[in-house]
């Protein structure tokens, strides 16, 4: 039985991605490592090349034509990104390097100013190191306390524990929307409401959600929102931090120097307003333009259709993986609760061996290790897992090749 995706023509999508026609070790590339980074469509690659071929100049500081063009393209990119996540106030969107930098920015500015000795910050057990370590450092520095909400054995957030920990009145709740290990989608709108009722501000790590599903920062009601461009068909080196205006306006600057100032004397300086105050130095203009092109591509495709396509793939993959004996799956078994990420272990072979054979024998790219979620792996008592992750250009046929490969690995290493 073949599931035909009526959402969009996957083959047509695949044709837009030049790297997908590559061979590795003589096999057709099967790219299942999208949670690590996504591949880029021609339109994104062309947009970046076009910028350098036809419009490149430094922005904001020049009167000449190219500078005006580049400046306008940068402004337009910011507007496109803001609109994509559900706001028309483009000044609420800060360009950064990636989600990690976005979270560090909040830690070093808003949290640095707001968190005092004895205060609480609440995170969860399923956080990526980038939404865990900055808070460890900050709470240690401030003699504040880091609370960690538990995850159930089934791979979902422990809602009772969450409510319990809210009773400590944390100043900030910082959590992931879609886990890059468990695949689980957290009920962010509900959790935000509870957090706000308890007096906390809410930061969402959206690195694995924005690329794959519709997000609306207004509807979610959150305060900070971080994501990376390279996971959503955009280039590396660009990401976004969205901050509710009422908070952003009173946040201190992050980096200091050219571009974010108003007046400068030898002994002091005053600073620009939004958005320039967070654009110290020459920004990654090519990155912003590339990311804007990615947003255009995803919008044309239809982000809801991308989500539906991935949901079908996850449902199919979970079904076939569950048939493999001595294979342990992580995260909820219900595909409706998951994004397109599936991590597993096999009894017969270590995650690294699995990844190695999948690559060399079958041309399949997966990731093995702890996926920057080391503490949760330790809590599950598995040092390393193998992870597959889907995007708009993956197919059911690719899953079939993966499953056959896993049976071969099982036989070779276990027999």
């Amino acid at each position: 039985m073949t599931l035909k995706t009526v959402m969009f023509d996957v083959q047509k999508v695949r044709n837009d991605f030049p790297i997908l026609s590559k061979s590795v070790h003589g096999k057709q590339l099967i790219y299942l490592d999208n949670a690590a980074t996504s591949q880029k469509p021609n339109s994104v690659i062309k947009a970046i090349a076009d910028y350098y071929a036809n419009h490149n100049a430094n922005i904001h500081r020049g009167i000449h034509t190219l500078s005006e063009e580049a400046t306008q393209m940068y402004i337009d990119a910011r507007q496109r990104l803001a609109h994509f996540i559900g706001t028309d106030d483009a000044h609420e969107l800060v360009f950064v390097r990636n989600a990690t930098e976005a979270i560090n920015l909040v830690a070093r500015t808003w949290a640095e100013k707001t968190i005092s000795e004895g205060d609480y910050i609440l995170v969860t057990q399923m956080e990526h190191h980038s939404n865990l370590v900055p808070w460890q450092i900050l709470t240690a520095q401030k003699k504040a306390n880091l609370l960690v909400c538990a995850v159930t054995q089934d791979g979902e957030l422990d809602l009772d524990d969450f409510k319990n920990k809210l009773s400590y009145k944390p100043k900030l709740v910082s959590m992931v929307q879609v886990s890059n290990f468990l695949g689980v989608i957290n009920p962010v709108a509900d959790l935000t409401r509870l957090a706000h009722e308890a007096g906390a501000k809410v930061l969402i790590d959206a690195a694995q959600s924005v690329p794959h599903m519709r997000v609306d920062v207004q509807k979610l009601g959150i305060d900070f929102f971080a994501f990376s461009g390279h996971k959503m068909m955009g280039p590396m080196g660009i990401g976004c931090l969205w901050v509710r205006r009422s908070i952003l306006e009173s946040m201190p600057p992050f980096l200091y120097g050219g571009g974010m100032i108003d007046e400068v004397f030898f002994d002091k300086a005053s600073f620009a307003g939004l958005p320039d105050i967070y654009d110290a130095g020459t920004p990654n203009v090519e990155g912003a333009i590339g990311l804007s092109a990615a947003v255009d591509y995803l919008s044309d495709l239809g982000i809801e259709k991308v989500a539906a396509h991935e949901s079908e793939l996850v449902s199919y993959a979970l079904g076939r993986l569950q048939e493999i004996r001595r294979l342990r799956l992580f995260g909820p078994i219900d595909h409706a609760k998951r994004g397109g990420v599936i991590a597993f272990t096999m009894k017969e072979a270590h995650a690294h061996d699995v990844a190695q054979v999948l690559d060399r024998q079958f041309g399949i790219a997966v990731r093995s290790g702890h996926h920057c979620v080391m503490p949760l792996h330790m809590a599950y008592e598995v040092p390393a897992t193998t992870r597959i992750s889907f995007y708009a250009y993956n197919t059911q046929d690719e899953i079939d090749v993966l499953i056959e490969a896993l049976y071969v690995i099982q036989k070779t290493f276990g027999g």
């Binding site: 072979a349 270590h350 690294h352 070779t412």
Partner: protein, 124 residues
């Protein structure tokens, strides 16, 4: 199969030589690659003339780390390596011992038992 997972590598992985604990031993040490979960415990007993009498290991990990540990115990025992000779062993020696090409990404797996062994006997 793959040129990395040749017959002898898989054989050592599935049927490791000298596997098990050693109740009486002069040296005992454990080590792990935290990020990938390869771990070994080594047990080494020496004769009066300080040549190896028994060398066993236990552990869990990827095929390369386990095969490397298994083959290393055989090498130390068969070649009757002294402590100084053990300390002189290098990554290249392991690659030769394994008979396969080891990529940069898998070097840590292969080196684990040697790193633990050398640290263990260095103490004296």
């Amino acid at each position: 199969m793959d040129d990395l997972y040749q017959e002898h590598i898989l054989d050592h992985y599935k049927h490791p030589r000298n596997y098990g604990v050693l109740a009486q031993c002069r040296y005992r040490a454990s080590g792990a690659n935290a990020s990938c979960g390869d771990g070994v415990v080594l047990y080494l007993q020496l004769k009066d003339d300080l040549t190896p009498q028994a060398f066993r290991f236990t552990g869990n990990g990827c095929a390369l780390s386990m095969a490397s540990a298994s083959m290393l115990t055989e090498k130390v025992l068969n070649d009757r390596l002294s402590v100084n000779q053990i300390l002189a062993l290098s990554f290249d020696d392991l690659v030769q011992m394994l008979g396969i090409e080891v990529s940069l990404a898998r070097k840590k797996c292969v080196m684990l038992p040697l790193v633990v062994l050398q640290k263990m006997v260095k103490g004296g």
